[in-house]
């Protein structure tokens, strides 16, 4: 058992960071799939669908993540769906990821000038072909920077699942502090680990912004 802050503590925190990364990855993958569907439906879907999705996004974006995670995690249980904590945590965070990433990607799709659709249309491409060969590849390139930037938010925000009993980096820090009562050491180390994960992504995100061959519409 850990008594004071030392090498063993760092090891404990790094293990927590591993869970943070795994959870972030899961969240990104699940949320990303739904976000793509949301983004496409919101730009191309029938009007009632577009409105419903827009409304849902507005509601979720107006609620603190802590509450979203709480309601979606236990909400699933209330309707009789039970998941292992990892999956449950991933799904709850995916709700948040879906609405934000969906909005980001919708922005990227809408940033492609209307004339690109027209030009592809005039070349007799079907709607799906236009999307697949002309719009999405360009939107994808524009979205790289913001997407990686948003992944930083995901990593940082996984800390709220401590609420539902999942021990990731922040919760590991809290537990460690409960044992050692050396908050300065503990949380400084926690912050350093987050920074080590997030800063390279932030840097990459900035780099990816000035992408060649694609310019968003103004």
């Amino acid at each position: 058992m850990i008594r004071s802050f030392g090498w063993e503590s760092v090891e404990f925190l790094i293990r927590g960071a591993g869970w943070t990364l795994l959870l972030s990855f899961m969240t990104f993958v699940i949320g990303g799939c739904f976000a793509l569907i949301f983004a496409l439906l919101r730009t191309l879907g029938p009007k009632p669908v577009r409105l419903a999705i827009a409304g849902f996004i507005q509601l979720v974006q107006a609620t603190p993540l802590l509450i979203i995670v709480f309601l979606s995690f236990y909400g699933l249980s209330f309707v009789g769906l039970h998941f292992p904590p990892m999956v449950g945590a991933g799904l709850s965070l995916a709700v948040y990821t879906t609405v934000f990433l969906g909005d980001i990607w919708r922005g990227c799709i809408e940033a492609i000038p209307r004339q690109q659709w027209e030009a592809a249309d005039a070349l007799a491409l079907t709607r799906m072909q236009q999307l697949r060969y002309v719009i999405l590849p360009q939107a994808f390139k524009i979205s790289l920077g913001p997407t990686v930037g948003f992944m930083v938010q995901i990593v940082k925000n996984t800390s709220v699942v401590a609420l539902i009993g999942f021990v990731e980096l922040t919760r590991a820090g809290q537990l460690l502090n409960n044992m050692t009562f050396q908050p300065f050491h503990v949380f400084l180390t926690v912050a350093a680990i987050y920074f080590a994960i997030c800063y390279p992504m932030s840097f990459l995100s900035e780099r990816l912004k000035g992408n060649r061959h694609v310019r968003p519409a103004h």
């Binding site: 058992m1 850990i2 008594r3 004071s4 063993e8 090891e11 404990f12 293990r15 927590g16 869970w19 993958v29 699940i30 799939c33 793509l36 569907i37 709480f70 236990y74 909400g75 249980s77 209330f78 009789g80 769906l81 039970h82 998941f83 292992p84 904590p85 999956v87 799904l91 697949r132 060969y133 999405l136 401590a162 609420l163 539902i164 009993g165 021990v167 590991a172 809290q174 537990l175 502090n177 409960n178 044992m179 050692t180 009562f181 908050p183």
Partner: protein, 272 residues
Amino acid sequence: MNWFSKLRSAALATTFAVTAATLVAVPAKAQTLNEITEKGKVTIGVLTGIPPYDTVDASGKTAGFLVDLANDVAKNLGVKAEIVPVNNASRAAALESGRVDMLIAHMTATPERARTFLMTNPYGAYEMRFVARKDMPLKKLDDLAGKRVSVPKGSTQDAAVSGFGIKGLEVVRFDDDALAMQALISGQVDATAAVAAVANDVIKKSNLADIEVKSDVPIFTLYWSMAVRKNATELHHWLNNYIYYSEVSGSLGTLHQKWVGIPIPGGKLPTF
């Protein structure tokens, strides 16, 4: 230009996996002993993160009084235990929503809470005491007038300290016991209302020479109950029976002694 179909199949696979997980994950909520036996396991929400009642090792594995107790409950039910760590903020939701079948989570049975859950006879107790710096005089409650006192949010300490009606006393609430204690150690508050065993453990392990548990102002002894959902009356009865038997057989006391280092405070456990 293969990526599009890859993406499509990835999306499909995820949808499929999520659906599959949904279908697999359904049977969890058990209400009767039969249901638990059929399921072959009982899911128990256990409060974690409060030494010395429990510890976490470097790999993140939890062990402690409540975990051992939960495992013993499962053993006596003749099924496997699935331990779900909960905290103050999530324990009620975990039980209410059916994520867990019961809670062993340091909960005091208040009439208000008992309107929502069935609370069992107590399986343990804690002595609540004020903890403060050695140089702070604390002989009677009124010595706390104008002081800042930290408590775990929504705990019975919270209710008690807020209810004393001491003039000018400011109650500062934190997420859990450890943060409330932390606030005292780092000097943000003048005192904390804490579980005596927890406070003594912290003082000993962290060599906090200038802090002590004030023994002149005993606040009270509060008992902990397990909780089950309203309609799980059979399980509730069984748990009362279990608690009675483990107390008289001595196994409960042994377990408490092993982790906390003292007998269960307050002598014989009450029943209701």
